[in-house]
């Protein structure tokens, strides 16, 4: 097996953080975690993850949103795929888009919480494969 792919999980709910970590590690990924957007940004720069799994709803309502934008606007990380997980797609009113455009949020894939372990693994694998191409 080549070098382990590194995934950054950003979520303010410790249970989700740990369960996603356990699942991904079991599938052979190296996992690092952050519980806030600020910590997430620090980890992105320090650890250069291959993919980010991000919870939209963090301490402030748009923290996940701003964090994703920051990544996508940074030339160094804009190719890093972001998998958005959220429990409240309807409540926030944010629209997701797989295409880049001004109004819609740019993200590479999104899943509803609670994420089925197999769906999480599939999505992560797919995004990483796309990145290879």
């Amino acid at each position: 097996m080549p070098q382990k792919r590194k995934i950054l999980l950003v979520d303010d709910d410790l249970d989700f953080l740990e369960m996603h970590k356990a699942v991904l590690m079991n599938h052979g990924y190296e996992v690092t975690t952050a519980t806030s957007a600020q910590e997430g940004w620090e980890k992105v720069r320090a650890e250069m993850p291959d993919l980010i799994v991000l919870d939209l709803m963090m301490e402030e309502h748009d923290a996940g949103f701003s964090f994703a934008q920051r990544i996508k606007n940074d030339p160094l990380f804009k190719k890093t795929p972001i998998l958005m997980v959220t429990a409240v797609a309807d409540a926030t009113g944010y629209k997701f888009s797989l295409e880049e455009d001004g109004y819609w949020m740019k993200t590479d894939a999104f899943l509803d919480k609670p994420v089925e372990p197999s769906a999480l693994v599939d999505s992560v694998k797919k995004l990483l494969d796309q990145k290879e191409d």
Partner: protein, 500 residues
Amino acid sequence: MSTKAFILVVDDEMGIREGCKRALSEEGYKVDDADSGQSGLQKVTQNGYDLVLVDLMMPGIGGMDLIKKIHNMDPEIITVVITGNATIETAVEATKLGAYDYLPKPFSPEALIAVVNRGMEKRILSLEAKKLYAERTQRLLELVNERSRLRTIIGCMADGVLVANLEGRLVLWNTSSVKMLKSKGFDIAGESLEYYISNEPLIAAIKEVLNSEDKDFSMISREIPAQDKKVILMANIAPVRDEGGNILGAVTVLRDITKLKEINKIKSQFVSMVAHELRAPLAAIKGWLEVVLTGEAGADVEQNQQWLQRAMDRADSLLAMVDDLLVINRMEAGRIAQKMEPVRINDVIIKIVDFLKPAAEKQAVTLSTKLPDDLPSIQADLRDMEKLFTNLISNAIKYNTDNGSVVVEGKIEGSHLCYKIQDTGFGMSPDTLRHIFDDFYRADDERIKKISGTGLGLTIAKKIINSHFGHIDVESELGKGSVFTVCLPLEHRKDQKVEQ
């Protein structure tokens, strides 16, 4: 001719009286007689006659005098003069006094009956006319009363009322509508709606009703913003129709629903907040169960056991949250009947401290009290007090540091019995302090997120304190700890309103 018609013959000549009685009785009239003006007058006073035949030449009260007196009593009684020396003068004079006709003596029964029949027709007509006149007067009076009653009624209404005619001109309104629409006041009737009202959606809605060709619709209801959107009005606009169903105008009833809308908004926000707060732990529980059931995170038994325990912990906190919500709900609905009785708060606190001691020791937190023996009992609900101090003391333990301490101290301050719960815990920033009594609020802190809590403990504490007319003060410094001081009145004042 009605057989009931009652006729009096007044004549001093018995022959005339008898003759008249006979002739008139045969014709179906009821007939009475009097032999003098005196007794004639008496009979008229006692009985209701329709027609009186009066001889002019009688001793005592003469015929002219009698006619005058009868008409003074009742102008509707028909009088007919019978006279032996008929002259134009006497006839004219009698007519001036109100006599209907005269009959010169001698007269035939046919002539008598003809005159009486005519007189009776006249009487019936004039009675009818009088009745109609009285009815008309009454109607007019009622109409005037009705209008003023209507104005009084709609003037008293808290709802605004506007009535417009088919041309869109205002014909009736009340002061509530003036206030709601913040109009300059509708001083003159008959001007157009636009003249008084600057609310376009309302005018459009009224015109929509006035111009409707639908014969069946009975009302439109619309929410209308007014006063620069500071107020929301519910406008019910109904057409006024004639018998043929044609629209004559429109009645608009305005109700201020601003408060209702606000309450509804708060309710929706609360429901959405609760749903979100319930969904998060449920999603976590489901997540852990999936991890274990699918084996996607490995099959290590001990590890799986730990994950199930995590699901269990979230289920416990979810249950605690639902219980807290039920407590709040019951308090807000006033369904918890408070049982006010003398309660020694010292005893309540000693019991709670004993109960929480193991939890404190587990966290290496020392728990101590300074409770002077002479602190009095106060009027309070025992269950409320247990809940209040359990929430505050367990918070002080939960959000504390290793080797920290919690001190509960009681004392009298003025008219209040005060308990200070002081901890050496995390402390709070001024920003956090502002929100601690908000529903579901939990400080945004790594360490706090790891500690299970519903975010409702202080909400409940505050509600209990309010319902006991007390107050709570909080001092806190980040990293140093917090002091919660609960003060409850020594004298329970029954006259105060409970503020939830």
